[in-house]
């Protein structure tokens, strides 16, 4: 069947955008609600008394009166379902509660941590993209050896644990060469190693995806056509194949960001960077339920936004999507 045959243009597209936007928002709200609910109940599986967590955390020697006091202060003596709706109510008003351990509003706490983690993830994503593109472009269409080498690099880097990679990078670039600080300083130099640590395995993965689609794109008739017009090898890549190769990788970037956020736990610990990953780890250890809930909601929100963004990016990069959205 010929897509785009004249008959298809009988369709009207009016109102579609509005409907799409509505669906997106509804989907996002649903995901956030479900994540909040899931977290609320899952966290209650964790052994340990929230009141103890509030009163100085593990090993606390709080008295019974203090415990009772805290329980009634925080509404922990209410039935679970009441607590649940109380939480939903607070969330609706944008109130994430107060950290058990730090006694600070969770929103303030997370606001301070979000930026760093997002910057770290975003930079890593960009670097991963650049590395992956470079590797994929370098190693495809150059014969078996280059492609075997490229493939080897991809599989290997994709299999590197962050903590190990970080250690090696520090040993080489901080200790042996003394080029970059091993502890993030907030300066651009301090960001280099953490970003590289996160980016390398991701790049290996993205390159795998890109290589496949690059190879596919290079077999396409439009590439041969372009050559027949006198297009150079570089021109072919720049103007044709790269964009095609990027499409699947773009749609994976939403996942990639979630992956980076998980990876950030390890990387933030090693490079001593403030961030959501460390906050989450600490909050789980301290059974700091409001903070855990807050981080999870925030990550879910970022994920939802990222899905929308990648969707948008894919639509920009691939006009066909705009066309065939109804199929």
């Amino acid at each position: 069947m010929t897509p785009g045959s004249p008959t298809e243009q009988r369709r009207s597209f009016g109102g579609a955008t509005l409907r799409r936007a509505g669906l997106l928002v509804a989907g996002a709200v649903f995901v956030l609600w479900a994540v909040a609910t899931l977290t609320f109940f899952a966290i209650r599986l964790i052994p340990g008394d929230p009141a103890q967590a509030i009163l100085g955390g593990p090993g606390s020697q709080a008295s019974q009166e203090a415990l009772d006091q805290v329980r009634s202060d925080y509404g922990l003596d209410q039935p679970l379902i009441v607590q649940y709706f109380a939480m939903l109510g607070r969330l609706l008003t944008g109130d994430l509660g107060v950290s058990y351990a730090l006694k600070l509003p969770v929103a303030d706490l997370l606001a301070a941590q979000l930026g760093g983690t997002l910057l770290l993830s975003a930079l890593s994503l960009v670097l991963a993209w650049v590395l992956a593109l470079g590797l994929a472009i370098w190693s495809t269409g150059r014969g078996r050896i280059a492609s075997a080498v490229g493939e080897g690099i991809e599989i290997t880097t994709a299999a590197l644990p962050h903590f190990w990679l970080a250690a090696v990078l520090i040993a080489v670039f901080s200790v042996a060469l003394d080029w970059l600080p091993p502890v993030a300083t907030g300066t651009p130099a301090g960001f280099v190693l953490p970003v590289v640590t996160l980016a390398i395995p991701l790049a290996g993965f993205l390159a795998q995806v890109m290589r496949d689609s690059l190879l596919d794109a290079m077999q396409q008739p439009f590439v041969v056509s372009a050559r027949a017009r006198g297009e150079s090898a570089v021109g072919l890549r720049v103007r044709h194949t790269i964009r095609h190769a990027s499409l699947p990788a773009i749609s994976l970037s939403g996942w990639a960001l979630g992956w980076l956020l998980s990876g950030a736990v390890v990387v933030e610990t090693i490079f001593a960077m403030p961030g959501l990953g460390r906050t989450l780890l600490q909050a789980v250890t301290l059974r700091d339920i409001p903070v855990v809930t807050g981080v999870v909601l925030l990550v879910a929100l970022v994920y939802v936004l990222m899905t929308v963004l990648t969707d948008l990016a894919a639509r920009i990069a691939d006009p066909r999507l705009r066309q065939e959205s109804g199929r």
Binding site: P47, G48, D49, Q52, A53, L55, G56, G57, P58, G59, S60, Q61, A62, S63, Q64, E65, A66, L67, Q69, A101, L102, K103, L104, L109, A112, Q113, A167, I170, A171, S174, V175, D178, P181, P182, V183, T185, E268, T269, I270, F271, A272, M273, P274, G275, R278, T279, Q282, V284, T285, L286, R287
Partner: protein, 524 residues
């Protein structure tokens, strides 16, 4: 580098500069050490809060915020005379009323103090005698009161600061120290700046007046390798909790200095839970201790930086009593004892069995409290005990789960550090009262040692003000504790700092061995 002493100061002190400190201890959840009260809080609080008294290198109590003190003969009242030239950094003066407010703050359940609260267990109240004189009224005599008061967890804070409420006070407590909390960026750093009006160094300080350093940049760097790399690269000037292998490397590195400051209180040790089978049988306890071989392991894992201990107390404590004969490795004796105790059969895996039950020892290990080298040592304990037929099951747990396992008595052996100034720590750890759990399930007597004789020795020691008889009581108690094979001492609580040689004049406080940078300066 040199060992166990303040680094030799060379040259004239210079003022200025920011010292960068990388801490591997957990980031506190509250900077006020009254709240809770753990070592990470003490590390930081030592820079901006001060206590009534301090301790010198020989273990003698020396004046600090209190310039003198007297105890009534019956030990039921203590009068502290405060220095009259000291003000908190918020400008309010240090007076007897402030001391009273601080003690009340510590004793108030709402403060959620645990270390300070326990230490003030026998203090009934504080009366204001005059502006400069505060009287502690005791419910019973406490020979450890001065030692307790020297600890950072009982530091004196500005009443005005405390009045702000816990949330605000936790962010930046106000004290009289040489530095002031400027800003706390969570997960990242605490910025401390010099208190230019500082007047109250402890009696053993090297100089008077304000500190030399302009500021301290206190960073939280949980990863040991990153910390050491940052020190090597000059990104930070001081790190704590270095890996033993890096200490060994630093010893041969002219650019680095090792500051070894074992913590006071209890030594690091493995407690044997005598409250339940199989360690309710002394023969099995002895068999375990005889079977386990740790000396070579301590040597190789700690690269010669840790000394084997044979005492329940830290070597810092003058009254620490050692008896290495009790801990000689003797596999034959271990086997004989186990046979005698009825653990005669062995199963397919080579572990001993009695009445169909395997000789299993659950060993919960807190990943937050044991460094990798110590965890490796525990693996060696596991391997050597296995030769005698013990099935040691190591469980690596996060802190909350670890406390949970202890509270549920789901352990046969455990290692738990305990830091406190003075030998009174023995009472906390081995008095049968400490078996009774707090509502959270927490209890300090993890060996579950329940011996009336030990109890009475420790109670007497705590109320005896005569130093000699007190020392004798503690020695007898330690003999009983060691002789009953309730614990396997390993080494002092390792507390090392690596400093860049440009840091001069830094030392560890002889109280709980936290570093102090009051006398420190940065040479170039």
């Amino acid at each position: 580098g040199c060992q166990a002493a303040a680094p030799e100061a060379s040259g004239e002190p210079v003022s200025g500069g920011t010292l960068s400190y990388a801490s591997g201890d957990a980031e506190p959840t509250c900077l006020d050490p009254h709240v809770g009260g753990n070592y990470p809080q003490a590390l930081l609080a030592g820079q901006f809060l001060e206590s009534l008294v301090s301790r010198d290198d020989s273990g003698e109590i020396i004046p600090w915020l209190a310039e003198s003190w007297t105890a009534a003969d019956d030990g039921l009242t203590w009068e502290f005379t405060l220095r009259d030239d000291v003000a908190f950094t918020d400008g309010t003066p240090l007076d007897a009323e402030a001391v009273k407010v601080n003690v009340e703050h510590l004793k108030d359940p709402a403060t959620q103090s645990s270390t300070g609260y326990l230490a003030l267990g026998k203090v009934d109240r504080v009366d204001v005698v005059s502006d400069q004189v505060a009287r502690f009224v005791m419910s019973s005599p406490d020979s450890a009161l001065l030692e307790s008061l020297s600890q950072p967890w009982l530091a004196i804070e500005s009443p005005a600061g405390l009045a702000r409420g816990m949330d605000e006070n936790c962010q930046a407590p106000i004290g009289t120290g040489p530095f002031v909390v400027d800003e706390w960026v969570k997960q990242d750093r605490v910025s401390l700046v010099r208190n230019d009006d500082y007047t109250s160094p402890p009696a053993d300080a090297a100089h008077e007046g304000p500190a030399y350093l302009d500021a301290i940049d206190w960073r939280f760097v949980p990863d040991a390798a990153s910390r050491y790399a940052a020190l090597q690269g000059g990104q930070v000037d001081v790190i704590d909790n270095p890996q033993p292998d890096t200490i060994a490397a630093a010893k041969s590195n002219d650019a680095l200095t090792w500051l070894d400051a074992p913590r006071p209180g209890a030594a690091n040790r493995i407690e044997l839970n005598s409250g339940q089978a199989p360690f309710d049988d002394e023969r099995v306890r002895e068999a375990f201790i005889r079977a386990v071989e740790v000396d070579d392991g301590i040597d190789s894992l700690f690269f010669g930086t840790a000394e084997r201990s044979y005492s329940p107390l830290s070597s810092v404590e003058a009254v620490a009593y050692s008896d290495d004969a009790l801990f000689e490795h003797d596999l034959d004796r271990a086997n004989a004892l186990l046979d005698e105790a009825g653990w005669t059969e062995r199963d397919a895996d080579g572990y001993r069995v009695k009445d169909g039950v395997r000789l299993t020892l659950r060993f919960p290990v807190s990943t937050n409290q044991s460094i990798p080298a110590e965890q490796s040592l525990f693996e060696q304990v596991q391997a050597t005990a296995g030769e005698a037929g013990f099935d040691v099951v190591i469980e690596l747990l996060d802190l909350s789960s670890w406390y949970g396992a202890l509270a549920a008595h789901e352990y046969e052996i455990v290692s738990a550090p305990y830091t406190k100034v003075g030998p009174d720590v023995l009472r906390i750890l081995y008095h049968s009262d400490s078996i009774t759990p707090a509502p959270s399930g927490y209890f300090a007597n993890l060996a579950q040692l329940d011996d009336p004789e030990v109890d009475s020795l420790l109670t007497d020691a705590a109320s005896t003000s005569d130093a000699d008889s007190r020392a004798e009581l503690y020695e007898r108690a330690q003999q009983l504790i060691l002789g009953g094979y309730y614990l396997l001492p390993l080494y002092d609580q390792q507390n090392s700092f690596l400093l860049s040689t440009s840091v001069q004049g830094a030392r560890a406080m002889p109280t709980v061995s936290t570093p102090t940078f009051y006398d420190a300066w940065l040479a170039d």
